[in-house]
């Protein structure tokens, strides 16, 4: 091995430009145009999705109008379609999931950003990312075969015995149902809440916490000051998680029990907008049935779009224009 640098190895690793690379104005313009078309394709994809959902839903919209969202009867044989039980199921399961996930997720985010030693913190953050990578069908399998028997044997009989006087906990311990769906959903949205809240807390100025500590605040009080400033961003994280919960399909379909009856009890089987599409779409009995299912998809699309856009705007605004945090995570 010689010490001198040979002509070949000099500049190794730097991509080489061929000598022919002379300026050709049309080539630049064409390349720009090509990339622009790719970008336009992304735009077109969203438009196409919205168009497909809207055009497919038109027959049902014409047939039922706004009553579609208010009726409770869902009878494919008689062609009565009312989506209210599914709207209710989606809203309730998502709200319950948030109720469970919010305190846990926020606590974990605070732990990761403020309390944990760096090594432990990054290990826990890694585990949270892995949780986000588990396919939803596996969550569903676990909810159906592990969580449901556990709830049926231990949790639900206890709830019924001690809290049965509240309509929420009245009924029969099925194991599957709203409660199971809410628990599984909360597990699935926790990674979103934790990782986005953590990034937001990390993006807050250190001075907030330090000045609070300098004024004699305890650590918890100093963190509370930071949390107070981060509140809009954390709200954004929570709403992003809500958007995810609203559209979550497979796990919920497997554990919610699929009954289109609105019940006050959390133990009763229920259904969501996503779960009814998953269950009935490929065996829809008539064109109107199919169209009704597509209308549910359209409503779901509009709701999640509104929820997500609002959440993104909150996160971006509260972190001073950091687009990456709420990005495609």
């Amino acid at each position: 091995m010689s010490e001198s640098v040979s002509a070949e190895s000099f500049g190794e690793g730097i991509p080489r430009l061929r000598s022919r690379a002379r300026a050709r104005p049309w080539a630049d313009a064409a390349h720009h145009r090509l990339l622009q078309i790719m970008a336009l394709t992304v735009l077109a994809t969203v438009v196409l999705i919205a168009w497909e959902a809207l055009s497919g839903a038109l027959p049902a919209m014409r047939a039922y109008g706004l009553r579609f969202l208010l009726n409770t009867a869902w009878d494919p044989v008689a062609e009565h379609f009312g989506a209210l039980p599914y709207l209710y199921g989606t809203m309730l399961s998502s709200a319950l999931a948030l109720l469970i996930a919010l305190p846990l997720g926020l606590g974990t985010a605070v732990y990761l950003s403020e309390l944990a030693p760096p090594r432990v913190g990054s290990a826990v953050a890694f585990v949270v990312e892995l949780l986000a990578s588990i396919p939803s069908i596996v969550y569903g399998l676990w909810g159906l075969f592990v969580l449901a028997p556990f709830l049926r044997a231990h949790v639900e009989p206890w709830l019924i015995a001690h809290f049965g006087f509240i309509p929420l906990f009245r009924g029969y311990p099925f194991g599957i149902g709203m409660l199971n769906a809410a628990i599984v959903l909360s597990m699935m949205i926790l990674p979103t809440i934790v990782s986005i809240s953590r990034e937001i807390l990390l993006s807050m100025p250190r001075a907030l916490r330090e000045s609070a500590l300098a004024l004699g605040a305890t650590r918890a009080e100093a963190i509370a000051v930071t949390l107070d400033v981060a509140r809009p961003g954390i709200l954004g994280a929570v709403i992003l998680a809500l958007g995810r919960a609203l559209g979550e399909t497979m796990a919920v379909t497997m554990v919610i029990g699929n009954s289109n009856r609105i019940s006050a009890s959390l133990l009763a089987p229920s259904a969501t907008m996503a779960s009814v599409i998953a269950n009935e779409f490929s065996e829809a009995t008539s064109n109107l049935h199919l169209s009704a299912l597509i209308e549910i998809a359209f409503v779901l699309l509009v709701v999640t779009m509104l929820v997500n856009s609002f959440a993104r705007a909150l996160v971006i605004w509260s972190t001073g224009g950091r687009r990456d945090i709420a990005g495609a995570s």
């Binding site: 390349h31 735009l43 997720g105 974990t108 918890a220 009080e221 779409f281 990456d324």
Partner: protein
């Protein structure tokens, strides 16, 4: 007027926070620790159950055989593994050129109004529920073709992968130092060559990472395949026919009333988890070695 003497301040600090405040401090710290513990526990629980219930069924037959007819025990997921592979490949083949191109556009030319609009659209797309993407792919591919097909499944997966690839490509391309671009431009390279031969290669490893993550996620998607690829109990490699996939196989077998099928669902879940979570774990672990942004 005399201001309060600083003397007063000293004992106050020296005595420390009052008991209730100390208790609150302790209590909330412990609560945060507990929350973190509860949040990470599902990973252990799920892994434990998938391995315990799935491992016994993981025989060579399971990998290399087709599903058995109803009533017979045994059988395997060979067609589902191959089907998932084919559809993920179709998804990758469609989404990578478009996604990387769009990401390059956003990073290099995307500071105007059109760029902002496309960026927002990609964000919107990443939030569209996967079941809705399935419905759209049904209308776009299944209806014109007149039947369920692996191609339709691949298209649905491509739409799932697209926003992730666009956004990560943009992010990593923006991280390529300005000096690279300036040096290449100073050498007389036209802008398109700078982008294709200097900027993109410099960002390529990170783009590949993003593609792998998107691919792993797509492989685990069930909802968009339910009424595009539908699923199949037979050997199906032609993309214009219904095609089996691991997630749909798990869904069908988990809901079947046979214990043997439920056991096979667990084994299939273990296979899927190995494919998906191991890929993302390896990828994320390798990013961790390199400092992020």
């Amino acid at each position: 007027m005399t201001s309060p003497a600083p003397r007063k301040l000293v004992p106050l600090v020296a005595s420390g926070p009052s008991l209730p405040r100390r208790l609150f401090d302790r209590g909330s710290t412990v609560t945060c620790y507990l929350a973190a513990l509860i949040v990470v526990s599902p990973l252990a629980l799920i892994l434990w159950h998938v391995i315990r219930l799935g491992l016994p069924g993981m025989t060579a037959d399971f990998f290399f055989h087709l599903p058995k007819p109803v009533g017979e025990t045994g059988g395997g997921v060979a067609n589902a593994i191959v089907g998932t592979g084919i559809m993920v490949l179709i998804g990758t083949a469609i989404s990578v050129p478009i996604g990387v191109g769009a990401g390059l556009y956003l990073a290099e030319h995307g500071n105007g109004r059109f760029g902002t609009f496309v960026r927002t659209t990609a964000d919107v797309l990443s939030g569209v529920p996967s079941i809705v993407i399935g419905v759209a792919a049904y209308g776009l591919v299944v209806v014109p073709m007149g039947r369920f097909s692996g191609l339709a499944g691949g298209v649905a997966l491509a739409i799932i992968m697209l926003p992730t690839i666009v956004r990560s490509t943009e992010e990593v391309v923006r991280l390529v130092p300005r000096s690279y671009r300036e040096a290449a431009l100073a050498l007389g390279a036209p802008r398109w060559r700078v982008i294709q031969q200097v900027v993109l290669p410099a960002a390529a490893p990170a783009v590949l990472t993003a593609v792998l993550l998107a691919l792993a996620r797509a492989a685990g998607e069930t909802a968009p395949l339910l009424f595009t690829a539908l699923g199949s109990r037979f050997w199906s490699v032609s993309v214009d026919r219904p095609m089996a996939s691991l997630p749909v196989y798990i869904f069908d077998y988990a809901r079947a009333p046979y214990d043997d099928w439920n056991r096979q669902a667990w084994s299939a879940a273990l296979v899927l988890l190995m494919l998906v979570t191991v890929v993302s774990a390896l990828v994320r672990f390798s990013i961790r070695r390199v400092p992020r942004r």
